[in-house]
């Protein structure tokens, strides 16, 4: 009561009171939109700074020797225009949702990304959910048992999860679980004797269920197992260490000591006091980890033959496919901004001081 009267919500010019959360959310959304424009500029400049000629990379060596073919290629992809014109054309097209046409696949980049994104989302979502559950539990246990054997074990395990190269881990786990133990399926999103479920979301598990194909659902889910496991092991390491630090800080707070002194059960203290207090820093690192999962799965996708954003980015980069590279750069930038925006908005939900201060 005292708090709400102490920080009076600002009034709009019309005299009507704007909801503090809405004002906060609007400000964050506008900032994110400005950043998107910045991301396009940075992506465009960086892409064009790369030494090398996209014509040489895209055309076969014989075709690249024919001036007529080269001229046609440059005209088709707008490479014969000055860079400034190319950039503003790109921005103009972007407003219509057009990211250009890939010089590698000859498809609109939007279509390529729309196909690749659900594949990455499917493993990234699985990994982040598991990582948060496991990381929060392990990090809290480690903090509560600070200095004891279990704390040391968990710290070593989390450090190992962070340090082991994901490429190597993916290959080893694939060899063990698929080849040796026969408890995981082969690479790819589906076994070769299954056909792709009718496209609705692009998430095979969801689309299979929507189509009523239970066997396809089970097969798609089983193919998620190893990629999700590899990504989870890495992210759990990160989250465990971070949660431990955040919980340790909260444990020293007076209100937690008071709760314990009152004799509240440990479970209540953890849920209602400790984790609630640590939620903002945890949320921050979860957001960053999710962004990293969406953009940093190149090697894992390569091992598991997973046709996601990472694979697409690698293919675009190796062919100097400028529209493809720009598209991936923009998508990853936007995804980070989106995740940050969601995290910022959740700050406002979790902590009233944030939205009122803004």
């Amino acid at each position: 009561m005292t708090r709400t009267t102490a920080v009076r919500p600002p009034r709009s010019r019309g005299g009507r009171t704007a909801h503090p959360f809405l004002r906060y959310a609007l400000r964050r959304v506008l900032t994110s939109l400005l950043l998107v424009v910045g991301v396009t500029l940075v992506t465009f400049v960086l892409t064009n700074l790369v030494p090398g000629d996209p014509v040489a990379a895209a055309l076969g060596q014989r075709a690249a020797e024919d001036p007529a073919i080269v001229a046609q290629f440059r005209a088709t992809y707008g490479l014969d225009q000055p860079l400034v014109v190319q950039y503003f054309t790109y921005l103009g097209n972007l407003l219509h949702g057009d990211l250009g046409v890939s010089t590698t696949t000859h498809n609109p980049v939007v279509d390529d990304l729309a196909k690749a994104l659900p594949a990455t989302l499917e493993i990234a979502l699985g990994a982040i959910v598991l990582s948060v559950i496991i990381g929060v539990v392990l990090g809290t246990i480690a903090a509560y048992r600070r200095g004891k054997a279990s704390d040391h074990v968990l710290r070593v395990v989390s450090l190992a999860g962070l340090s082991v190269p994901t490429f190597w881990l993916a290959l080893v786990l694939y060899y063990v679980f698929y080849f040796q133990l026969h408890i995981a399926p082969g690479s790819g999103r589906l076994s070769s004797d299954f056909s792709t479920p009718p496209h609705v979301t692009g998430l095979y598990t969801v689309d299979a269920l929507l189509a009523g194909q239970l066997d396809t659902f089970l097969d798609a889910a089983s193919h998620l197992f190893l990629p999700v496991l590899v990504l989870t092991l890495y992210t759990v390491g990160l989250l465990t260490r971070f949660v431990r630090t955040a919980v340790l800080e909260i444990l020293d707070q007076d209100y937690v000591r008071a709760a314990r002194a009152k004799g509240l059960p440990t479970r209540t203290v953890i849920w209602s006091y400790v984790l609630r207090g640590a939620s903002i820093p945890i949320l921050t690192v979860v957001g960053l980890a999710f962004g990293s999962l969406l953009s940093g799965t190149v090697l894992v996708e390569a091992i598991f033959a997973w046709p996601g954003i990472g694979s697409y980015a690698y293919q675009a980069a190796s062919h100097l496919d400028l529209p493809g590279i720009m598209g991936v750069g923009l998508l990853i930038g936007v995804m980070y901004l989106l995740v940050n925006l969601i995290v910022d908005l959740l700050y406002g939900v979790l902590d009233p001081r944030v939205r009122l201060a803004s």
């Binding site: 790369v50 075709a63 073919i69 698929y178 790819g188 070769s192």
Partner: protein, 535 residues
């Protein structure tokens, strides 16, 4: 009262739980009962699926635009060509859809359709389809257009097409066997945006539906993940051994595990090391590939006064330990005797290959006046050719040349960025490879002064008249025996006086489940999928 309300609440709660569980069980049962299957085996009438692992470089399935190894593999199954090769022998062209009559001057090629052929939709094939398909490749100005540079295509009658060229083109029969020149159903393609010029918009259609007469038809195509083929019910040849083929995009390391584990029947991109580590459950076919890895030394003095010195070039040729390079490259790899790979007409015999001679290398190095200057070796750092990494080869060359006193500075760069310097002829030393555009030795005339690869090594026209006249003689055509002899002479001269050092033909290793028969490596399309069958 309190007791009663708690009791009631508990009862309601447990009843709700029971109801929820029962509902879930019923829903699951209904779901399972009402489920369709996503499996494909039954749809093919029990025909087996063949799964092939391949590291994709696929850009399109449209023959007029396709010119990548994965595209060749796919289009070979979907489209038939006028001429073809039998099995793995690419030194001899045989009849395909048509028979060939060639003029003595190699300028006129008359192709007559043999028998009656039908496309996958049942439409009969005519000379109009042939003319449209070849003219489309020329007019699209795509990657394979160069194959028919300077070729005029005309219809003689409903069964006959005549190809003419202004200059002798003895390579044309071998070129016509390329899947990029597969014959399309012109009516269907035209209905879907097909033309014989740059306005053509049929690629999208051809990436969803094939319009050929090959043993398979395209079921689905995803450039990033997999291509699915189904047997062509209207195919007029022998029915293929597998009713359904899935070609999936998988990297080499995973391919090895997949083929051993049984989720793939064939793995096409195994390195020599991976192939030799395979267990008994799979059969491995190892052959030298048609790619030739070579070293170039720039002959342009303004690029390098060191490498343009003929004695320095000789010293480098004598300093390299070729056997060592072959051994690190692994199973299937062979030393390239000349720039023309061993399976092609015109290849040099093994006895003519370059050999290491350290004493001669030191003597020639001294003669060149080399004073220990650092020489830069450029190479693509991200290319793995048949499992051989270029950085590994470059490092080994660096240490071998050090033995005779040559200092080499390695300059790796991603291929996309290094290609420019290579194509502009500004590299001092370069480590690259040449894959045949078509399996005929005339494709290797580019290694002569004033031609594409010659210019990349700073070897301008007129730089070596003797070699140029040997090249002219080789280009003129003639019988197979004459051509063999002329190309041998040319390559012997290149090995002695040229700026190129042929190093390796990396091994092409195909691992197949023991149930698969008919695996034969072909330098153009890797394997003929339709020739495979199950034991």
């Amino acid at each position: 009262m309190v007791f009663r309300s708690t009791h009631t609440a508990r009862t309601v709660r447990s009843r709700s739980t029971l109801i929820a569980l029962a509902a879930a069980a019923v829903s699951l049962t209904l779901l399972v009962a009402g489920c369709s299957s996503g499996r494909t085996d039954t749809a093919d009438g029990g025909t087996k699926t063949l799964t092939i692992d391949k590291a994709f470089d696929l850009k399109t399935a449209d023959p007029g635009r396709m010119y990548e190894p994965t595209g060749q593999l796919v289009d070979k199954a979907l489209y038939e060509t006028l001429l073809t090769f039998e099995g793995g022998d690419v030194s001899k062209v045989v009849d395909g859809l048509a028979s060939l009559e060639q003029s003595a001057d190699a300028k006129t090629f008359t192709l007559t359709l043999k028998g009656d052929h039908t496309f996958s939709d049942g439409t009969p094939m005519t000379a109009d389809d042939v003319v449209f398909s070849l003219q489309r490749v020329i007019g699209l100005k795509g990657n394979p257009s160069f194959l028919l540079d300077g070729v005029t295509v005309t219809k003689k009658d409903d069964k006959t097409v005549v190809l003419t060229t202004a200059t002798p083109t003895p390579a044309l029969p071998a070129i016509l066997a390329n899947p990029a020149l597969g014959i399309l159903n012109s009516t269907v393609v035209k209905e879907n945006g097909g033309t014989t010029d740059e306005t053509d918009t049929a690629e999208k259609f051809l990436n969803t539906t094939s319009a050929g007469s090959g043993p398979y038809v395209l079921d689905t195509l995803d450039l990033a993940s997999q291509v699915v083929l189904k047997a062509n019910e209207n195919y007029d040849g022998d029915a293929p051994g597998y009713g359904r083929v899935v070609i999936q995009n998988v990297e080499g390391a995973t391919q090895k595990i997949n083929v051993e584990g049984g989720s793939a029947d064939l793995a096409l991109d195994l390195s020599g090391t991976q192939a030799s580590a395979l267990g008994d459950s799979v059969a491995v076919t190892s052959d030298p590939s048609a790619n030739v890895i070579f070293l170039l030394l720039n002959q342009n003095p303004s690029v390098s006064a060191v490498t343009s010195n003929p004695d320095f070039v000789k010293a480098v040729k004598e300093a390299i330990d070729y056997d060592d390079l072959v051994s690190i490259a692994g199973t299937g790899t062979a030393q390239a005797a000349g720039v023309v790979p061993s399976m092609l007409l015109g290849a040099l015999p093994e006895s003519a290959k370059l050999t290491q001679d350290l004493d001669a290398a030191k003597a020639d190095l001294a003669k060149s006046g080399y004073a220990g200057e650092s020489v830069t070796l450029n190479f693509p750092s991200d290319i793995s050719l048949n499992g051989i990494d270029f950085p590994t080869i470059a490092q080994r060359i660096q240490s071998q040349l050090k033995e005779v006193g040559i200092t080499v500075e390695l300059a790796p760069a991603p291929v996309a960025t290094e290609l420019d310097a290579y194509r502009n002829g500004t590299e001092t030393m370069g480590l690259w490879y040449w894959g045949p555009d078509y399996p005929d030795p005339s494709d290797y005339l580019v290694f002569t002064p004033g031609n594409v690869v010659g210019l990349r090594s700073g070897w301008a026209e007129g730089a070596n008249p003797a070699i140029s006249s040997l090249a002219d003689a080789a280009a003129a055509g003639g019988s197979d025996e004459e051509r063999q002899s002329r190309f041998e002479d040319l390559q012997k001269a290149l090995n002695t006086d040229g700026p190129f050092i042929p190093l390796l033909q990396p091994g092409n290793n195909i691992a197949a489940a023991k149930s698969v028969t008919g695996v034969v490596y072909n330098a153009v399309w890797t394997i003929d999928i339709a020739a495979l069958s199950a034991k």
